[in-house]
Symmetry: C2
Subunit: 195 residues, 2 copies
Amino acid sequence: MVRAVPDTHGEILAAAARQFTVTGYRGTSLQDIAREVGCSKATVLYHFANKEALLAELMAPAIEVLRSLDEQLTGLTGAAAQEVAAQGFVDLAVRFRQEIAVLRGEFPELLCQPAFAHIQEISDRLRDALAGHSDRPGARIAALVLLAGISEACGEFADITDDDLRSALLTLVRRAVEPVDALPPQQPTTEDKDS
Amino acid sequence: MVRAVPDTHGEILAAAARQFTVTGYRGTSLQDIAREVGCSKATVLYHFANKEALLAELMAPAIEVLRSLDEQLTGLTGAAAQEVAAQGFVDLAVRFRQEIAVLRGEFPELLCQPAFAHIQEISDRLRDALAGHSDRPGARIAALVLLAGISEACGEFADITDDDLRSALLTLVRRAVEPVDALPPQQPTTEDKDS
DNA sequence: CTTTCATCTGACCGATCGGTCAGGGTCTGA
DNA sequence: TCAGACCCTGACCGATCGGTCAGATGAAAG
């Protein structure tokens, strides 16, 4: 039989996730987290090297998915890139609603830190893909508004199931993205069922 | 001739606006602002009762426009509400790019403070209007994503003129908002030129 | 010259932050 | 029985935060 070993590490992680989503990373102190777990602040810092390491471990799965989406996007152009970016990002945003909500408005500072060094570049590429690699202002603006809006909004719909939210967001993105029909003649349509 | 009277009050306000847009409200200390102005922290607090009062004075014009937009929306329904909300909010977001950028991720805490008490309700009504007062999840989600995305994104396009940004955003919103064609039979179309 | 007033400042305050450290339990394997 | 690994803690640290306060300065008014 299992001994109900106290998984303090996991409890701290869970408490931090909860607190971060409510009050943000900067707005949550290690003392707050310790209080919710029922341990001392020193215990939190025994299990995690520092506050940033706690956040990094919390975000690791989401970042890994983001990285793999980035790889899928390499080489894709036009409408194909748009569709993969849309599906990939919507799926990521829905699955990691909570994690994304943590980063609310903390981006500019956090992205400077080593653990999150490449996120900025990856999301830039993601935005570029969603714009169909077009440099028209309309396409760029639409892509950024959608990415930012989804990131910001997906945490608000706790009452909607993952599936419903995913399909609604995907419909929205497909409707809202600026089409790249008049793309420079490269290939007519590369979106034959290649999978 | 004017004596070049040192407008310290205004200088503090301008410095605060600049710093807040870069490092956010919480991320900017009164010391930072004082340093940029070239005065002491005590001087900042001589001109402004406290840090929150500084922010309130900075946001006052934007809030006033938001409030008047809210009034314009009372009584409007369906597509008419959507169009007024879209035009009004896009215009507001473009004109007050900087002010909106200040509130990055500071919303949950700031909205609790008395100076910003009604903003939450107003933006809820605004979102509702942009959704054409529909309660379909798709309409609600689209409205929230657009409002949040525009708020988040409009500060990023410093290289685009107000007019260009406004028209691009408006085009995007009209394309992205879920149409309310199948609205419950109330009036066939209320959007005859009533102005 | 004296008073008054707005402006500005250095010194200081209590609170809170992230983080360190020495040491106290507790369990396990030798 | 003892050594050592692991887990946890209270006390403490320096830094920084928003904010207070008595007093310096200087120009205008009497």
